[in-house]
């Protein structure tokens, strides 16, 4: 173990993590690593103990007695599992350390930047669709999936004034999109659900040494390359300009290191599924504990990550007992790791960024009445078309009379109205959060309110057996509001930086992801309904529910439009708003509460994944709706239109199969953001 301790300040990182670095904490990394190593040794001895007692300790490791069930179990299941846990943890932590250093972002990691989701998506698609002959290319597909996801995230975030935060938010968007994509593929291949989900949840259970033999050589290659490149990495931390003037080839170096970090991640995920948070938490914790040099950070990450996952996996094994796996390790890691993000957030001060330097072009102030009329017209005609025209795979069919005319019309209008109302509710919610949070990438989906609503409903459904939709809705609404209150409490100290709200939302979303995975591995018959709801189907909605949500949306919309002046003032920042006489904390709380109620109601109807809450306010702002009142109305119109189109497509695109509306909306939304990112270059 390298005992080097660096006293050299690493400017970019110290700026990013402004932790108190007194001497005691400098010993932190070593102590942390040794404690985890001791725990790991204890675990190994604990597992070996029965064999050590009868002197078969060496045998059972190398040549098990094939007549003894316990020895076979240990040699072919327990021991490879321990080894895999160490290898996977080490690999992911190293990949995380490398990505964090290269991108100069203390919150970057394989999972937060969408690499994990990309690999998972690519593998799922590959497993379900590719012919057996293509099997040798599985790894290439996984690697490509991870790289493309990371590339997309980087593309969105690069050249922004506040790249640190944008990177994380872009990662969340890509993550959500890819996860919903994965789910949609599974939805059409229900027979594989259980096993793919088990794998997707990060299952470390082993029945031999195959996985180890698969991952270990790849990990060694990756580790060797990344460690070789670690010295130029320190240069990267100084910033691109400095690094290139010191002779480092910034772009190539960055791509190489990121490539191998993704390679390690892809190998681990191919073998063991998605294991989140090790890659984020371990390097971040080590850095907070005082490691600044990238080589030290990586070596420590490698060891600490390995030992940490081994220990977590041991806990999981104890919980599961002999009756097979109930909680997959990856999901458990996320559960343990997500709260850790909050801890990191408290330590790491992510700079809210200098005020953006972009020079705004001197636009004309133009009235948006024409655009609004066009949008209203679009909504009305679209509604007519949506109700009366469908597509049966070859031709467009006009609904005219007939026996079932009323039934079909009723059914279609239920779903169309549900979509429109949800679009409107999410648009209002998103506008409020973006304005009060002063962040154009904030949305109910991203602050975790939608996730928490879904989470509450899933827990109620799967673990407590609530069956009635009415009950579920109530539980969901309560969940959404509680999550918001928790978020606000967590963020109370950070009143000057609303960004923390979003980053805490990230933790919440991750917890949801973990619990959903756990729930899906054990829910059996309800799985398929759960997944389609999570992907945002309007299939289960009823008219009375739609009417209630519509009432709530309209009432709250009127309230916030009346309060448009303080809403505008909130965009001045807290200090300025207070100086002008607005009690900003109370006002923010009130607005966020309304946003949560709206988001929760919409989530009840179409699930948590639609991107309308993110996209509609963004589009409205770009279209030129500047002031709060107009912004709200514009967003509502755009949101309603987008959801209406998405709903029609969901019903008709793959007729007679029904796609989830939320997913279509999400695809529209993410495509839009990618387009936006590319156009900005």
């Amino acid at each position: 173990m390298s005992g080097q301790k660096s006293h050299e300040a690493n400017p970019a990182m110290t700026r990013a993590i402004n932790s108190d670095m007194n001497r005691f904490f400098h010993r932190g990394p070593t102590i942390l690593c040794i404690v985890l190593a001791l725990c790991s040794v204890t675990i190994l001895i604990n597992d070996l103990w029965p064999f050590l007692q009868n002197g078969a300790g060496m045998n059972v490791i190398f040549h098990p007695d094939e007549t003894d069930f316990d020895q076979i179990l240990f040699h072919f299941s327990t021991l490879p599992r321990i080894t895999m846990a160490f290898i996977c943890g080490a690999g992911l932590a190293l990949a995380g350390a490398a990505i964090q250093t290269v991108l100069r972002n203390p919150l970057a990691s394989p999972t937060t930047l969408g690499v994990g989701a990309g690999v998972e998506f690519a593998l799922t698609v590959f497993l379900l669709l590719a012919p057996a002959a293509l099997a040798p290319f599985k790894e290439a597909a996984a690697l490509a999936g991870g790289m493309i996801a990371l590339g997309a995230v980087y593309l969105i975030a690069s050249r922004r004034a506040n790249a640190t935060l944008w990177l994380i938010l872009a990662g969340m968007i890509i993550n959500l999109m890819l996860q919903s994509g994965t789910q949609i593929f599974l939805l059409f291949n229900e027979q594989y659900l259980q096993s793919v989900f088990m794998w997707g949840a990060g299952d470390l259970a082993q029945n031999g040494w195959d996985s180890t033999q698969f991952v270990l050589p790849r990990l060694l290659v990756g580790v060797a390359v990344v460690l070789l490149l670690s010295r130029p990495l320190d240069l990267l931390a100084l910033g691109d300009d400095t690094a290139s003037s010191l002779g480092a080839r910034v772009t190539i170096l960055r791509l190489l290191i990121l490539g191998f970090a993704v390679f390690i991640t892809a190998s681990v995920i191919s073998a063991a599924g998605l294991i989140g948070f090790i890659g984020l938490a371990v390097p971040a914790a080590l850095r907070i504990a005082g490691l600044t040099r990238s080589r030290d950070l990586m070596i420590y990450s490698l060891l600490t990550g390995g030992f940490a996952l081994l220990c977590i996996d041991f806990l999981v094994r104890q919980m599961n007992g002999l009756g097979g796996d109930i909680v997959p390790t990856g999901a458990a890691t996320a559960l343990i790791g997500a709260p850790f993000i909050i801890l990191i957030l408290r330590k790491a001060r992510i700079m809210p960024g200098q005020q953006s330097e972009d020079h705004h072009p001197d636009q004309q102030i133009v009235s948006k009445n024409v655009l609004s009329l066009v949008l209203v017209f679009g909504l009305v005609t679209g509604l007519g078309l949506s109700l009366f025209v469908s597509f049966n795979g070859h031709d467009f069919v006009l609904l005219t009379g007939g026996e079932s005319f009323h039934d079909i019309l009723l059914q279609r209008s239920e779903r169309t109205f549900a979509a429109i109302i949800c679009g409107a509710a999410l648009a209002v919610s998103g506008t409020l959060i973006q304005r009060v949070g002063r962040n154009p990438l904030a949305s109910p989906e991203i602050t975790g309110v939608s996730s928490a609503t879904a989470l509450a409903m899933i827990i109620a459904l799967v673990f407590f057996g609530f069956g009635q939709r009415a009950d579920l809705m109530f539980v969901g609404a309560v969940g959404g509001i509680i999550s918001l209150i928790i978020l606000l409490l967590l963020c109370r100290k950070f009143t000057h930086t609303p960004h923390y709200l979003l980053l805490n939302g990230l933790a919440l979303t991750a917890i949801l992801g973990a619990i959903v995975r756990i729930a899906l591995t054990r829910s059996g018959t309800q799985t398929s309904m759960l997944i389609s709801w999570l992907a945002g189907t309007t299939y289960f909605t009823r008219m009375d529910e739609v009417l209630i949500v519509a009432g709530v949306t309209v009432a709250l919309l009127i309230v916030v439009i009346a309060a448009r002046r303080p809403l505008e003032l909130a965009s001045f920042g807290n200090d300025q708003a207070t100086s002008l006489g607005l009690g900003i904390s109370g006002f923010q709380f009130f607005i966020m509460l309304l946003a949560a109620i709206l988001a929760a109601s919409a989530t009840l109807l179409v699930g948590p994944l639609s991107f309308v809450g993110l996209m509609a306010p963004h589009l409205a702002r770009i279209a030129g709706y500047r002031l709060a009142g107009g912004h709200l109305l514009g967003a509502v119109l755009i949101g309603a239109n987008v959801m209406m189109v998405a709903e029609w497509m969901a019903r008709n695109l793959l007729y007679p199969q029904q796609l989830p509306t939320g997913l279509i909306a999400a695809l529209i939304g993410t495509t839009y953001f990618l387009f936006l990112a590319i156009r900005k270059r």
Partner: protein, 258 residues
């Protein structure tokens, strides 16, 4: 106007650092007070205490003999207008819309703007020479133009006290003089009390009535502009070799680096 009694301020965190220690001072009503000092001497911190952006660790601050904390947010906004060093610029607002928010303390969230409000807004824009930008976006203006827009908003706020944190940092010499002259005029015309953090020694000597110098979080000197523009005083405050010369045919002094 503002009276501070044994006020100190500490940074947050596990090892709080005392940024201001035991400051007792009265800022005179109807005068232009300047706070000067070297970088990190606590100038902005002190101004933030007055603006209620920071809470004192100990001691008491009163405004018109009333304890600072006892004001409601809106009352305080009607009495004290504060311009931070680098205010957040809302990207989507026009100059006129931004200046109009100066009337918020008086009209609140729902009150209609009356003719007098619009008059005040127009007058504030005229005084700061920003009328020509009225329909441009604030974000599209240069740094100096923005500073004048912010000042217009503060004037529209119609508060008897202005707290300005380096209001001229982004201005060229001509506009520095214009703005400080404007502030000085307002002071004498409508009896505003102005407290500003300023850097430029000569501007301080030219426009300020009362000067408070800080060094390392402690009061190190206070007095009038005439006493301030003395080589010994300046050397003591800034710990740098500074000299002054008297301008011919004038009572003004200018400083130079020795």
């Amino acid at each position: 106007m503002f009276d501070l009694k044994n006020v100190s301020f500490q940074s947050e965190g596990k090892n709080p650092k005392t940024l201001l220690g035991d400051i007792s001072i009265s800022f005179p009503t109807g005068e232009f007070s300047a706070i000067v000092g070297h970088n990190g001497s606590g100038k902005s911190t002190l101004l933030k205490l007055l603006a209620r952006k920071n809470k004192p660790a100990s001691g008491q601050i009163t405004l018109d003999t009333q304890i600072l904390d006892s004001h409601s947010t809106r009352d305080f906004a009607r009495k004290v207008a504060y311009l931070p060093q680098s205010p957040i610029v809302p990207a989507h607002l026009s100059v006129r819309e931004l200046v109009a928010f100066g009337r918020y303390p008086w009209r609140g969230a729902f009150g209609r703007y009356r003719a007098e409000d619009h008059e005040k807004i127009d007058r504030a824009m005229e005084m700061t020479h920003v009328t020509e930008f009225a329909d441009r976006f604030v974000a599209s203006l240069s740094g100096g133009e923005r500073q004048r827009v912010w000042l217009a908003m503060l004037l529209a706020q119609d508060a008897p006290v202005l707290l300005l944190d380096e209001p001229t940092s982004a201005l060229d010499v001509g506009h520095q003089r214009d703005i400080l002259q404007l502030v000085a005029n307002l002071k004498s015309e409508i009896g505003l009390t102005v407290i500003a953090v300023l850097h430029d020694i000569d501007m301080v000597g030219r426009f300020a009535d009362h000067i408070l110098a800080l060094r390392g979080g402690q009061t190190c000197w206070q007095g009038t502009a005439a006493d301030f523009m003395q080589a010994d005083t300046l050397r003591d405050i800034f710990q740098t070799e500074i000299g002054v010369i008297r301008l011919p045919e004038s009572t003004h002094y200018v400083s130079y680096i020795a």
